[in-house]
């Protein structure tokens, strides 16, 4: 039996449902550009970043030069692409590593988005162009040590002192915290939860990176501590009050995730497919065993379902009809799919599957984080449950 059996010609194992044809020329060009960028700049080094537990800060400027940062936002140096293009970029980034997608999600959807949507003109002028270029890095502080899925329980608070605000408390699990120039911090005030723009050089602000992670190792995750951080009156985002503010940012970022994880899953599927047709056992490729084919086909179907779902939700977002509960549907199902695909792929790669020589275990471990962050699988289940029954099961 030959080592590389010819695959059926009529369908493309890498675009089985011919989804390429559903993309506009611009969307394809953006997708292909990010794919080359990831092939040139992320894939050759990401295993080392993962092993060392670092993310090279210079990437911010390279991503900025390409137009990745805040790409779907209008004005202030942002490229102003449609939502599908942003999603496709996330897919390609996450096919490299969830940390690269996460960097872009945090910068664009969690920091630039609220500044653009709820910020004053001066705040937009000060931060957006620099963030679009990658000259300034942002982070988003919502989660606290004792406040995760239930952000309304947060304790970080900002109190008025004359015209100023004084911020006290801490935030936990903050992506990019240790390398950020600016943090959007959500805090309790007399007026409900409000967002604050906090330059990380402000006195009383400290960030401590979290070590000993076994997931998202190529991404910086930090604890932020605010010890009497004094902020001017104009540090608050004027345009929003209450949990609606941070939740709207999360809906934006989840949109990136539901596309992104399709990339991680695709990378695992492709690695497993290549491995299955080249690894010989019992006198031929392991891809000829029915058990392996079953796994590969399940993966193929999962990846393509995920891509279809993402594209559908992307088109709805561009039409302006996408509801947050539909984003929850995509986040929940696509992350669950991707994690399943990664685990199956890991098994096909045998012992090689546990090394960083192959991308699979890196993706698999990363996806454990993606499963939890931006609303856990359980929380999105409850969102969907409430959407269809009208009954609240959160508390």
């Amino acid at each position: 039996m030959s080592k590389q059996p010819a695959r059926a010609r009529k369908v493309d194992a890498r675009d089985f449902l011919g989804l390429d044809a559903k993309l506009s020329p611009e969307e394809r060009l953006i997708r292909d550009t990010v794919r080359s960028f990831v092939a040139d700049r992320v894939l050759p080094e990401v295993a080392e970043w993962f092993e060392a537990g670092t993310f090279p800060k210079e990437m911010a400027k390279e991503m900025g030069a390409l137009g990745l940062l805040g790409m779907h936002l209008e004005g202030y140096g942002c490229a102003g692409t449609n939502a599908v293009s942003y999603g496709l970029a996330c897919t390609e980034l996450e096919a490299g590593d969830s940390s690269a997608r996460s960097f872009v999600s945090v910068q664009g959807s969690l920091v630039m988005f609220p500044i653009l949507t709820y910020g004053s003109d001066a705040q937009k002028q000060e931060w957006l162009p620099a963030m679009a270029r990658g000259d300034a890095i942002g982070c988003f502080g919502l989660t606290e040590p004792d406040s995760g899925s239930d952000p309304a329980s947060m304790r970080t608070a900002a109190k008025r002192d004359g015209d100023d605000w004084v911020l006290n408390g801490s935030k936990m699990w903050i992506t990019n915290g240790g390398i950020a120039d600016v943090a959007v911090v959500w805090a309790q005030t007399d007026d409900g939860i409000r967002g604050f723009i906090v330059p990380t050089t402000t006195k009383g602000f400290t960030a401590h990176d979290i070590h000993k992670k076994l997931s998202m190792r190529a991404s910086i995750t930090s604890e932020l501590v605010f010890d009497d951080v004094r902020l001017p009156a104009d540090a608050v985002l004027p345009g929003v009050r209450g949990l609606r503010g941070p939740l709207s940012c999360l809906t934006e970022a989840r949109f990136g995730i539901l596309f992104g994880v399709v990339g991680a899953a695709r990378a695992c599927y492709e690695a497993a497919l290549d491995y299955a047709v080249t690894r010989d056992q019992f006198g031929g490729p392991i891809g000829r065993f029915q058990l392996t084919q079953r796994k590969l086909v399940d993966m193929l179907i999962g990846v393509n379902h995920g891509a279809l779902l993402a594209l559908h939700l992307g088109r709805m977002k561009d039409e302006g009809t996408l509801e947050p509960a539909q984003v929850s549907f995509g986040k929940l199902d696509n992350v669950r799919m991707a994690l399943g695909v990664a685990r199956e792929a890991r098994s096909i790669l045998g012992a090689n599957g546990i090394t960083l020589e192959y991308p699979v275990i890196r993706h698999m471990n990363n996806l454990e984080s993606v499963y939890t962050l931006e609303g856990t699988n359980e929380i999105h289940t409850l969102v969907l449950g409430q959407a269809i029954t009208g009954l609240n099961a959160f508390t």
Partner: protein, 254 residues
């Protein structure tokens, strides 16, 4: 400085090529990509334009069925200002000289100071079109540039040779061909991709240019590439290196 860059849209080399069973020509799909080697030419043109300042312009010139213009858009997204495509059914099967005449006519119509081209296309490999364009235009050609700069109103290149490189220069109007690897082509930026939609793409026919397709190539037959012969295994009994050196000499690679 007006810079014209010759670019070609080719079928995606990653997908298997299909030949028309009757004419034996490559079937050109709607979506073609920018020939990878042309990215270097576009980059050199953009760098020359950037060095020359604000009123410099970069125009892409291409002779090919337009299709979805995906390949052209890719080059526009890198930063070129406009594109001129010669798309005419009578040009199907045009030979290298006809192609050169047509492209030279299009470049002449636009006006130019510098023409930049790759050394050869990835799908055709004739490697003669740029020099013929220069001849038709009556411009000197600087070929196989591995480095390009504009110095004192002249274009100076390092011309790759077998032994090393020669430094050659000429004053515009001039044509130059650049080798792959001469520069690091930039990625199209997203803003560039969005703006590329608005950039002008002129589509011309032979009549517009006053040229005719005189020489048609006819492909009489096509044979599959012969299967690779099994390699020779050299048993090393202390003299293996001599045999390898001899083989490399036979293959004229050293």
């Amino acid at each position: 400085m007006r810079i014209a860059v010759c670019v070609k849209q080719i079928p995606d080399p990653a997908a298997p090529y299909e030949l028309d069973p009757e004419t034996h020509f490559v079937v050109r799909p709607e979506d073609q990509v920018l020939d990878d080697t042309d990215r270097y030419g576009v980059e050199v043109a953009l760098q020359l334009a950037e060095a020359a300042g604000d009123d410099a312009s970069v125009t892409l010139v291409s002779m090919s069925p337009s299709g979805s213009l995906q390949g052209i858009r890719q080059a526009l997204a890198m930063g070129a200002d406009k594109a001129v495509i010669v798309d005419d059914a009578s040009l199907r099967g045009a030979d290298a000289l006809t192609t050169s005449r047509v492209i030279a006519a299009a470049i002449g119509r636009e006006g130019y100071d510098v023409v930049v081209a790759g050394t050869e296309s990835t799908d055709g490999y004739t490697g003669v079109v740029p020099q013929q364009i220069a001849e038709v235009l009556g411009a000197p050609s600087l070929t196989f540039a591995r480095k390009v700069e504009a110095v004192d109103g002249k274009i100076r290149i390092e011309r790759q040779t077998q032994a090393g490189y020669d430094v050659v220069e000429a004053a515009p109007p001039v044509l130059l061909t650049v080798t792959s690897g001469a520069v690091e082509p930039r990625y199209p930026t997203f803003k560039g991709i969005m703006q590329a939609k608005q950039k002008p793409i002129d589509t011309l026919t032979c009549t517009d240019l006053g040229v005719t397709a005189d020489n048609q190539q006819v492909i009489t037959s096509v044979d599959p590439v012969p299967a690779r012969q099994a390699g020779e295994i050299v048993e090393d009994e202390g003299e293996g290196h001599l045999r390898i050196v001899a083989m490399l000499e036979e293959a004229k690679v050293i």
